[in-house]
Symmetry: C2
Subunit: 431 residues, 2 copies
């Protein structure tokens, strides 16, 4: 049986998972694919700490060059994360004629063009199934299963931490601070959860989803990103009353000849399937022109789910290597009907608005007047009972409105003497 050797860079949580699977499923995989996958070398800065998997000590090295310069290694598996030195290692490996598997969404999002170009030039493949949705085969599905489709939109719940926090707030009515503390206690949030909570991680994944659906790598700075840290339990409660759940969505959406790419908390109708995705689970909801509306759901993180995806990439590469197949073009055909990225000011959405007003006669008339001035028409309005000291929330749902008009209107409203807190606006999708 043909042997194909791999080198693993990064012997952390996912790296250990990959080793475990390749050990435990060695004969199953060999039977299925007719290739014996051999771990030739595992490299990490720390090779002395005990791991939850046992490997022959001779496999371990602190020197990444033992992998990069080994001509017998056909595939490198990069699992150290972060931009540097992961980028240098991958570029060096490509230059040495190796294929690459990585779970590094931040790196691909920031430097994808450079890495994919280098791979294309060298006739090598970079596979990255674990970088979005862990074990959910979303990347393979978009690249291969939906190969003939064009896409009108993709909505992703792609950050488990944020989804856990929003689910807890929705289910238990707790505050954001309380929910994030619970997440930390359960190991679902990092000590500093900024990247997850503020939508950066979701945006990294959105870059990859946009690449696979629209064939272009969008720059992080061109993505509108808003996190969930300002979502209050009252917004969650009003959402429910109005028939919505709040989810942090990564959205790529074609509007005529423009593409919108954005990450923000979103009101989704409670009967939308994404609204039922709770806790640390991820789901990607795809609207395609041939296969229709599809959803892919699963755990968004974890050692074995991510390692399962990494191993499926390794398996695919063994088949490519056997066959001499070079497949980068599967990802990179630009949707030529898209002329430009739509700027945030031009986004059109329905909105949920919550305005905290002092309950005086005439205040609603003032607010309505300002909204009308900016051409914003209101689908529903609820003035809530007094909560404290004369301040009452006015909750509105708008019809479709241009972002810049909404912002201007709220700015003007927030300047009124009767307004005591910054008004809240959350985009509504899926209706």
């Amino acid at each position: 049986m043909r042997k194909i050797s791999i080198g693993i860079i990064g012997f952390g949580n996912i790296g250990c998972g990959v080793v475990k699977i390749l050990q435990q499923r060695k004969s199953l995989l060999a039977q299925k694919i007719g290739v014996d996958i051999v771990i030739k070398k595992i490299c990490d800065k720390d090779i002395s700490t005990k791991r939850d998997v046992t490997v022959d000590k001779s496999l371990l090295s602190r020197d990444v060059n033992e992998i990069i310069n080994d001509p017998q290694i056909d595939i490198i598996v990069e699992l150290i994360g972060g931009i540097n030195p992961a980028k240098e290692f991958i570029l060096a490996a490509l230059k040495k004629g190796k294929h690459v598997v990585t779970a590094n969404k931040a790196l691909l999002a920031e430097c994808g063009n450079e890495l994919f170009s280098e791979a294309a030039e060298r006739g090598k493949n970079i596979y990255f199934e674990a970088s979005v949705g862990a074990g959910i085969p979303i990347i393979k599905s978009l690249k291969e299963g939906l190969v003939a489709n064009k896409f009108s939109s993709i909505f992703g719940i792609v950050n488990g931490t944020s989804n856990y926090v929003l689910s807890q707030m929705s289910k238990e009515g707790c505050s954001f601070a309380n929910a994030i503390n619970q997440a930390k206690l359960k190991g679902f949030a990092e000590k500093d959860p900024t990247l997850d909570i503020e939508g950066i991680d979701s945006a990294h994944k959105l870059v990859l989803l946009t690449y696979l659906t629209y064939g272009r790598i969008v720059k992080m700075k061109d993505i509108f990103i808003e996190g969930i840290s300002r979502i209050s339990s009252s917004d969650i409660a009003y959402a429910k009353e109005l028939g919505y759940e709040i989810k942090l969505l990564a959205i790529a959406k074609k509007e005529v000849d423009e593409l919108e790419v954005r990450v923000h908390p979103t009101f989704l109708p409670v009967n939308h399937l994404l609204s039922s995705v709770d806790g640390v689970f991820n789901a990607i909801y795809v609207s395609s022109d041939l296969a229709g509306e599809l959803m892919f759901y699963g755990p968004g993180a974890g050692q074995l789910p991510a390692a399962s995806a990494v191993v499926s990439d390794i398996v695919d590469l063994t088949q490519d290597i056997k066959a001499g197949l070079f497949k980068p073009t599967l990802n990179s055909i630009q949707d030529s009907s898209i002329k430009s990225l739509r700027q945030i000011d031009e986004f059109e959405n329905k909105y949920y608005i919550r305005i905290s007003v002092v309950d005086k006669p005439g205040v609603l008339a003032k607010i309505s007047g300002i909204l009308a001035k900016f051409g914003i028409s209101i689908a529903s309005v609820t003035q809530k009972e007094k909560l404290k000291a004369q301040v009452v929330p006015v909750v509105m749902v708008t019809h479709e409105v241009k972002e810049k008009n909404l912002r201007s209107a709220l700015k003007m409203i927030d300047r009124l003497g009767e307004i005591k807190e910054k008004s809240v606006a959350i985009r509504i999708e899926g209706v």
Copy 2:
């Protein structure tokens, strides 16, 4: 660019969809895969009726041998459905060295062993993505995306007609007869919907899902099959009260060293993601040991969804052909930890039971006595108010109980003088 020629057998609804996609996406596909897919011949008994796609008349033939005997055709696409003559055509094509794409779940379920063996002997691949869940890439995901996984269970809503009927009954409180009539009016049910409603179509698809997860082709006669035609609107109403939805599920489930394969209406907790799958949509919920709990959702039927899947199979085969890859073993590794199929009598489930009793003192004691005699313990019991003429429904939820014990108990209960209708029992899953 390399040209690969295909022959399409069956120019009906899906056949036209495949032709449409290959025409409209010709250059997109060529750019992505580096192969020019050429439709060399389309065969159908009827080549005169106008279709919703235009093809050169020289491509059409009534003689299937023009495809089977054409050495330039590398791939046949079988879209006529049914067992015969589809089986003969596929076997003949394999013998002539062609790869096969088919959407024919009935044929693969009935004759899969013979067809896959012939393909293996000839070193050819049979791909069948469109046979389960239309455009949902479930087959590719199980075969490739989850290649390293073992499976503890797979639950599928794989028949759109049945799911539409149950959804209508649940949402609108209508009767089965009313719901099936609505389905017919909307084109979601055939004139004779037996195959869909009685679970046969779901069982065909279950054979394929079981093959992909456990590596064995189960015989149709070994699948326990129960349809939805006896589900009443009152069962749906009680289900809701108890916190469940009723879904027709295709289930393959490993229990220690035995495999259960069954199709039946099932009580699913309302917060189970499958309970939110409404209308003609399909969803397959997979429990895997590495990637965890996954769900794949999308339209379960339709010209373009099915054709999208057929085209993805054709694309995969072009890559196999370019590379000389032969991949049947991806499907067929038996899970050796499974010793046998579990017989229906030995299934263990929680149950919903509805017993219609004449409201006399002591009747509940008699029923409870019989259940106790068979070791059936009750998790909850609700005796409903009188509906008519002294007959009241007693609704119970059991703890885990062996199927044969439950059946024996119900048989004895139904013989009591106080019981006026055959009792109803529906299995509960997902808790």
